[in-house]
Symmetry: C2
Subunit: 220 residues, 2 copies
């Protein structure tokens, strides 16, 4: 069973690696990282590269798609190499999934038209603008489409999908294998729990990052 994870410049590493770590442990699964061209793909902060083993067109019909997000989701939502691949792969996939703003790419490919879906809390308006109905849940399953909320939610989504692919016992064994017994030191993982002051800090950090990113694009 091929599980394809398409990478693109400025993606968010944990969006991809969370589901990978879970799904690679499903018996018979082969996780394959793809990109427009094979080779290293750099993450959003410039500090890490993951290697895409093959080009998108090398794996046109995987059983499972997992589309990660990133600060460049809007840019690649306008890139037909990615959206065309998603659209065609979705025609024959058993499961089509996304993490974080990866839902923006699914929506741009036409996969989420009129459907409930989730994404990073900062991207709900963008998702609605592309024809999906944003739902503020961590994992949203509609038919063969599963979308997950921001960044770390891909681990939860991976476990939901592992149970669909191989049964609950296998999913539980994977959870124990990766010792996923979360104990965050704070309870600030959602806007409601974190409160407006912490939300303001995130919005300010994101605005500063987007400004730097725009400057880099302009200079590049």
């Amino acid at each position: 069973m091929d599980i394809a994870i398409p990478l693109f410049e400025d993606f968010t590493a944990l969006d991809a690696v969370g589901p990978y770590e879970v799904l690679s442990r499903v018996p018979g699964a082969r996780v394959v990282f793809l990109a427009a061209e094979p080779g290293p793909v750099r993450t959003d902060n410039g500090m890490l590269q993951l290697v895409a083993e093959a080009a998108l067109e090398d794996l046109p019909a995987p059983e499972v798609l997992v589309v990660p997000g990133g600060i460049s989701a809007d840019r690649f939502a306008a890139d037909e190499r990615y959206t065309g691949w998603i659209r065609r792969a979705h025609e024959t996939s058993a499961w089509t999934t996304s993490v974080c703003s990866g839902a923006i790419l699914l929506a741009a490919a036409g996969v989420l038209d009129g459907l409930d879906a989730t994404t990073h809390w900062l991207d709900r308006d963008g998702l609605a603008a592309r024809g999906a109905t944003p739902v503020p849940d961590r994992v949203v399953e509609r038919g063969k489409i599963i979308t997950a909320a921001g960044v770390s939610s891909g681990i939860d989504m991976g476990l939901v999908l592992a149970a669909r692919l191989a049964g609950e016992d296998v999913a539980k064994a994977i959870q124990l294998g990766i010792e996923y017994d979360p104990q965050p030191p704070f309870d600030a993982g959602s806007v409601e729990k974190a409160g407006p002051r912490i939300e303001g800090l995130v919005r300010a950090a994101v605005a500063a990052r987007d400004e730097r990113s725009a400057a880099r694009q302009a200079a590049g």
Copy 2:
């Protein structure tokens, strides 16, 4: 502030990428992936490569070390390139940390002698054999040393460390930024919660994997 993450063949991706995703968001932090030689380093299941940007000796004195684990932890615990680098970097580090069986490398470097530490639940005996005192907690902080339990615990450890480095507000903003509001579909993240039947499934899968790995090593 340099945060060094040493990679080695057959490491576990999420051990490294969990803390990276958190700590890369600390203002002023630069996360650098290292290895014996710069270049792609393959993970435990052979399905992914992360790129080490520099050699270990290129960054001898980072402020923070984060040592991931992997099925090859014992092998690299016998590799003086890694243990020597850890030992020397620890002399001047502000924080020395590990995730999962990364604690085995810290112990082999002499960093954990007589100290409380945690690791993957399957590696507690191995850690004790190397002179540390295994504690079944998710994150264990002793002076400037922080160890984390299996694989996914590096996210929790990253948030603990982010609070030490930059204050609780920054750590909470990072938690909200990566939407770390965990909602696993099952409650099977520890041996106690998963029960003996699921534990047996994990032990069988690990035994099969170790057998395959030994066969690969023997085949050269």
